[in-house]
Amino acid sequence: MSIRLTILEQLKQIALEQKKSLAPLNDELPLLESGLDSLCFAILVARLEDVVGVDPFTTSEDAAFPSTVGEFIRFYEHAA
């Protein structure tokens, strides 16, 4: 599965588990408006580390934190 699909699937799975109402996903959607909270993103990053094998927050040279869904996906695509 591509990184993009993996991330989108995980977002839906975590929203379901945490009983959050997930906004319709598109690349321009700000993470803040996705319906997920910090804990959800922490879970997402922890699981992606196992599935994708990287944690770009730790390894990336890029100091800018992603703030939209599209930026988040590209953040992982660049690191993989």
Partner: protein, 455 residues
């Protein structure tokens, strides 16, 4: 005048005029405390010289009440927001509380409220000055929370001598002022700062950032988790602070670099502090961990530090005086050091924090005891044993992860994973539920037959 001989109201009278404390909707003018009060008329005998518990849920009201109680009450026991009634009762008993100060919003019967905003005209209370003892709840220990005793001197004890900032900082804090980190900022603002802006965890980040900017805030403080939220909000540049401070959790490169990039003109400082140890030190070089040279620091305001079995020990004029309560253990070692339980390791010329002794996990500022989670997991049929531990996480600092050994004959690990997660979600707060579950063939044991844990 020594700080312990001056009440907060006297600090305010000696400070600049026109300062305020504000939250999202209200403003309290600090000048008003000279001739106005939020105390219920006739309440003075219940407060003066008494052991008082401050159990006001609203943060701004609690801040105003603290200003008025200091110098008047013998002891103020400061309840953090959301403290349950059972814990409150235990604490009140242990601390010899005589009066509980609640506000009209918290009281079942508004007539029992002893404090309210807005302030009203009031004659000054005629009572002798008392160097009030401040009792703060500690976190990070199992069982009922302990109370650490401070006074205004330990809480405001200066760091190494530095010229006072000019102009005075306009502080804002993401912490609650009833916990040590937030109280530091409240007291810095009252005793030498300009205005203070309070925030609430439930406020939307973007709105809060705009509000901080409108208030002309220059100095902002929060945990790494708070700051990561700001950086990921897409609204980080709504503020342009001169000073950014992080504490309360382990700081990593990602959040420091993110902050440097978002706020190029800001001084970015991370501080080590705890309720027991007080403010230990500040790291100003923009790197995670702290320079090993800090262990040799001496001089006025300096903290003395040593590493014992991997744990950081500290002693300074800011460390708590003692634990409150009949059978409390001494808070310090025989020679006055606090054993923080924060484990460090040296790499090159720096020390780095690796976690809590005993494996207590700090998820975005909330403490998780591994044993509590393991008990829930181990109760599931098909589980032989489990080990819950921390994994570094760029969003919440640490993530709770579980290694689980399956009983022989339990074939379906996917179904077991679902059962474990369901049980954890039903029985534990959301931040305690393992984010990742791994099935492993075995777990390492100590020679004594215990699970091998960090530290």
């Amino acid at each position: 005048m020594r700080p312990e001989h001056r009440s907060l109201r006297e600090w305010l009278a000696a400070g600049e005029a026109g300062r305020v404390i504000r939250d999202a909707t209200r403003v309290v003018a600090l000048d008003d405390f000279a001739a106005r009060s939020g105390l219920k008329a006739g309440a003075a005998p219940l407060i003066a010289g008494r052991n008082v518990m401050l159990a006001i849920e609203d943060q701004l009201t609690a801040a105003a009440a603290l200003i008025e109680l200091d110098g008047l009450a013998r002891r103020i026991v400061v309840c953090p927001p959301g403290l349950d009634l059972a814990s409150r009762a235990v604490i009140a008993t242990n601390a010899g509380v005589e009066t509980i100060v609640i506000d009209a919003e918290t009281a079942a019967d508004a007539r029992t409220a002893l404090y309210r905003l807005p302030l009203a005209d009031a004659a000054p209370i005629d009572a002798p000055f008392i160097a009030t003892e401040w009792a703060l709840l500690t976190s990070g220990t199992s069982g009922p929370p302990k109370l650490a005793a401070h006074d205004l001197s330990t809480l405001t004890g200066v760091m190494a001598k530095a010229p006072p900032p000019n102009p005075a900082p306009r502080w804002a804090t993401y912490y609650d002022i009833r916990r040590y980190g937030g109280m530091q900022i409240l007291l810095r603002a009252l005793t030498g700062g300009d205005s203070l802006t309070l925030t609430h965890a439930s406020d939307p980040i973007e709105t809060t950032l705009s509000r901080l900017n409108d208030s002309g805030v220059t100095h902002i403080t929060g945990t790494p988790t708070h700051w990561r939220k700001v950086l990921m909000s897409g609204a980080a540049r709504r503020i342009d602070p001169a000073y950014v401070r992080l504490s309360g959790e382990i700081v990593d490169d990602a959040v420091l670099n993110g902050l440097k990039s978002a706020y190029p003109r800001a001084r970015i400082v991370h501080a080590y502090a705890s309720t027991e140890a007080g403010v230990g030190f500040e790291v100003t070089d923009g790197e995670p961990g702290f320079p090993a040279s800090l262990l040799d620091a001496r001089g006025d305001g300096a903290v003395e530090m040593r590493i014992v079995d991997g744990s950081l020990h500290l002693r300074s004029r800011r460390t708590a005086l003692r634990y409150i309560g009949g059978n409390s253990a001494p808070i310090t070692t025989d020679d006055g050091f606090i054993d923080s339980g924060d484990m460090v390791e040296r790499r090159g010329d720096r020390y780095f924090f690796t976690g809590r002794r005993g494996g207590v996990i700090n998820v975005g500022g909330s403490k998780v005891h591994p044993e509590e989670v393991e008990n829930v997991i181990n109760a599931q049929p098909g589980v032989r044993i489990s080990l819950v531990k921390a994994r570094k996480n760029p969003i919440t600092g640490a993530a709770v992860v579980a290694d689980v050994v399956i009983q022989d004959g339990c074939a379906d690990s996917d179904a077991l994973r679902v059962r474990i997660l369901d049980a954890c979600r039903a029985g534990l707060a959301a931040y305690k539920v393992p984010m990742v579950i791994r099935f492993v063939p075995s777990l390492e044991m100590t020679p004594g037959g215990k699970l091998a844990r960090l530290g």
